[in-house]
Amino acid sequence: MAVATSERPGRQTSGSFKAPVGNTVREKFTQLVLFLATCVALVVLATLLIDIFKDGVGGLSLDFLTQYTSRIAANAGIRSGLTGTLSLMVLVALMAFPLGVGAALYLEEFAPKNRWTRLLETNINNLAGVPSIVYGLLGLSVFVFFVGFGRSLITGALTLTLLVLPVVIVASREALRAVPREIRDGGLALGATPLQVAVRQTLPAAIPSILTGMILSLSRAIGETAPILVAGAVGSRRADNEPWNLSEAYTAIPIQIFDFVKRPQEEFQIQVASAAIIVLMTLLLFMNSAAIIIRNRYARNG
């Protein structure tokens, strides 16, 4: 018994294509809610930025960058913090890059996939979420007291390296994993050893993404206050930090900001601190832009 198709119930063959009214309303309403959620975030951020800019821009000058800190707000500068932050950046990059990329290469290219390496991976992922103050306490007990580095630049750099290492490893692994399997196959088929393929093909192909992850990790590291505060950074210092003077006392911009807002005078709390925040944010903005540029260039070439 054949059923003619036109008699099937539910099939509509005439009428307009207008959407049912309820659908349109629900659609628009949802979009509005989502838009408002975005607005709240943006408005809060903008208020914060404008407020800081208004307070701090008056305190900004070349002198502010080149002067050491002072008891008089008008003379105070962040030279020691700036040199400290830059020194920390160099040292953290030098230590975190080889360690992080090495660990990622091992885990991604060579490690056997067994229960032990899975446990290792889970732990690295968890470490990325450990509160930064915990790293500070670790730095304090291990580097300051146990190893005996004291409250020196190398202690701060090692502490921040430990802090960013899990993030660098995870980012590098993802970069390596994104390199197509075919590239490895092609290298191996030419009689290259797995190590040669990893170092000469897979790693170079992944390096732009690895660098992006590295820069973002570094910008997280230089924005951190808690870990290095605990691990012995000093708030008030009237000397330059240089990356090669490892055993010297050190400070960094966030530490100085913390120091400024702790002082009783209002000029320090508002104007000087805000100016220092603007410097720190500009530095972070530059680093994030560099990461975006590297990523975009890679996307174009790939």
């Binding site: 590239i183 009689g191 050893t193």
Partner: protein
């Protein structure tokens, strides 16, 4: 000279094989301290003739399992020197898996287990002292999807000689291999350009050129034209015909016309279902013989059905 082996269509019982393809002289054991050990330069060249042909590979009851699931069961055949051997068959028949056994690419898959024996010029390819890396240098491979390195054309071609520390003039290797792959005229003025700027067909010829740079004896090709248009495919097929004079080529293809056009011998594989309540499939060799015979007068019903388009 019809050399053909055939299994009867008996999916449930162990195959009974009348293997007339076997060389009669398989008595010698591979020499101890074989040439596969990395530092030995000289190959164990064999001048042994098998029915008038030099045999490069001889496989005996080769099975491959991924974990506990069989992918390919009991394949015995031989690959002759300076001929093109095509593997055809429906999806899941294990022909690519089998191809990857010849240069030990399956070793790289942790769950893969290979049993049986594969001899390369009388040497057991899976013996303890055989270095898989050295195997892969001497038995080259071209893949389904063109896979140039994301580098310049020049760097693509010098990677092999460099990692193998070959004492050669790199410029010369680049030019010779590109000429052999019929790509020189198209790229000679842009050797420094990224290989990704080439078309798909050019990329695949670059990959063939790249395989030639380390001077392999055998080139394995795993569906090398499946990602290419008919014109690029024709280019590659012409190239294979050309290369056949110096290289032994084994090609896996889904395209029966391609097998008929380029190959001297064809092996037909089929996929069998493991048991009735389980549709996991594994591959089995049905027959191998001269391509003209396989296509005009196959010895097995299943081959005939496949090449006439009744299944697959």
């Amino acid at each position: 000279m019809d050399q053909r082996t055939s299994t009867e269509p008996q999916p449930k019982s162990p195959p009974i094989r009348l293997d007339t393809d076997t060389p009669a002289t398989r008595t010698k054991q591979p020499p101890a301290g074989s040439a596969w050990s990395k530092d030995t330069g000289a190959g164990a060249a064999s001048d042994r003739k098998a029915s008038g042909h030099d045999v490069v590979f001889q496989t005996r009851d080769v099975s491959v399992h991924y974990g506990s699931a069989p992918a390919l069961v009991n394949v015995s055949l031989s690959i002759r020197q300076r001929e093109i051997t095509a593997f055809i068959g429906p999806s899941g028949c294990g022909k690519s898996t089998f191809l990857r056994c010849f240069n030990r690419t399956n070793d790289l898959i942790p769950s893969a287990r290979i049993t049986g024996r594969i001899d390369y010029h009388l040497q057991d390819l899976y013996a303890k002292d055989v270095d898989a890396v050295e195997v892969r240098r001497r038995i080259g491979m071209v893949f389904q999807k063109p896979n140039p390195f994301p580098k310049s054309i020049y760097d693509n071609l010098t990677f092999g000689p460099k990692v193998n520390r070959m004492k050669v003039d790199l410029d010369e290797v680049v030019e010779t291999s590109l000429r052999r792959a019929a790509l020189w005229d198209e790229v000679k003025n842009k050797l420094k350009q990224n290989a990704y700027s080439l078309s798909g067909g050019q990329q695949q010829r670059l990959c063939i050129a790249r395989a030639l740079t380390v001077d392999p004896e055998v080139i394995l090709m795993d569906e090398p034209c499946s990602a290419l248009d008919p014109i690029a495919t024709a280019h590659i097929e012409d190239l294979m015909r050309e290369l056949e004079n110096d290289y032994t080529i084994v090609i896996v293809t889904h395209n029966m016309q391609q097998a008929a056009r380029v190959s001297d011998r064809t092996a037909f594989f089929t996929a069998e279902v493991e048991s009735e309540n389980d549709d996991r499939r594994f591959g089995r060799l049905v027959e191998i013989g001269d391509t003209s015979m396989i296509f005009s007068n196959p010895g097995d019903r299943r081959t005939e059905d496949y090449i006439s388009g009744r299944f697959g």
